[in-house]
Symmetry: D2
Subunit: 130 residues, 4 copies
Amino acid sequence: MDVAAMQRALREFSAEREWQRFNTPRNLALALVGEVGELAELLQWLTDEEAAAIADDGGDDGADPAAQRLRQRAGEEVSDVLAYLLLLAESLGVDVERAFTAKLAANAEKYPAHLARGSAAKYTDLRPEG
Amino acid sequence: MDVAAMQRALREFSAEREWQRFNTPRNLALALVGEVGELAELLQWLTDEEAAAIADDGGDDGADPAAQRLRQRAGEEVSDVLAYLLLLAESLGVDVERAFTAKLAANAEKYPAHLARGSAAKYTDLRPEG
Amino acid sequence: MDVAAMQRALREFSAEREWQRFNTPRNLALALVGEVGELAELLQWLTDEEAAAIADDGGDDGADPAAQRLRQRAGEEVSDVLAYLLLLAESLGVDVERAFTAKLAANAEKYPAHLARGSAAKYTDLRPEG
Amino acid sequence: MDVAAMQRALREFSAEREWQRFNTPRNLALALVGEVGELAELLQWLTDEEAAAIADDGGDDGADPAAQRLRQRAGEEVSDVLAYLLLLAESLGVDVERAFTAKLAANAEKYPAHLARGSAAKYTDLRPEG
């Protein structure tokens, strides 16, 4: 499913409920923050090992119900964050696929593989003002 | 460009720089927060009208350089947030497209169009614990 | 009530429940994000005018129950954010009062009143990397 | 230094620069998110052990310059988050000290020490909707 299809589905969902007028940049930015908060809460008291185990739960037929429940909830929160991010991008006139491709190319040029290799310091610089 | 292709591109980008070991759930959640902060900063001192004007800048050949510059920066920040969100989803074993489709279907059932129509209150409930 | 007294109260609260071991920098940073998300959700669908009305609700004996309820909830969320921020500062060995005084002095020097006056641009620069 | 004195200092700082008009609830909430993002970035690539070492840097005369620099930056980010949180509280008509005391008392009643002792699950419930 490509980003454009996701945005179409979100547009239809909003239109059917007459919610378009709520989809302003600042409303959606604050809503995005709310959902990112939900995602953070899932991980806040876990050790790095416990968090890593969420993906290693043996899949849907796996043996760890707690990890599966966390993975299920993580999927819901990731979806909520993604939904508001795509609605926000649309409200700002941002072409997500084009912006994503351009940013990745810019980062590839900024951090040549042979120099950046294995360096957390370089990674830390992977920020807009970096 | 679908989500799977974006995740492949991000995986390759990390692999070429030997950065995979940094891609843990809690690292990526904190990095996501950092990029959401950059996105919020773009909008923090704008009025709702000024924020709405970012999308109405007449396109790349448009007349408002300030709005175009903001839209450009917004595209970069949206891309950074998306990149960390997709890497985080992968680190948690979340199938993004599947989770997104399931969550949208759940919300559609939870908020019947004929009841939710035009209601901000309903919209506010569009939260996991809602 | 000074910051040191608030931190003492939080320390005692954690100690009585044997929760100190959960108070690590990264745990508390993610918990802080969760509470900031709750605060953002309170404001996400309000217009700037509706948000301004929360403070102008005529006080506790005032006439607007909706604004009073929002102000009550805002107080709870602000308290949660403050609690995790003070616990985080302590986990990082940060002297909050000293850091706050030093940062305010640094900003006063960085943004001379006669130059910064009324300028949102200057205000936008009030960021660490500004 | 008590919260009221910090708020007075922030009020004066804004007044001297004629920035009061920018101090609206939604502006300050987005600015708060921006500073929380800066704080998260400091911790994003650290292990839990590295993050814990920031407080154990032997103090200002200590032996670890890297930890000291991180602690210095953490102090600046904590101050920025606190400044926007206190300005936001004021813009919402929230009495911070009163709200903080009330919330702590409510949590003490909600999580009796003899029941909550050592339980991360209980701790996780320390959320508004918990």
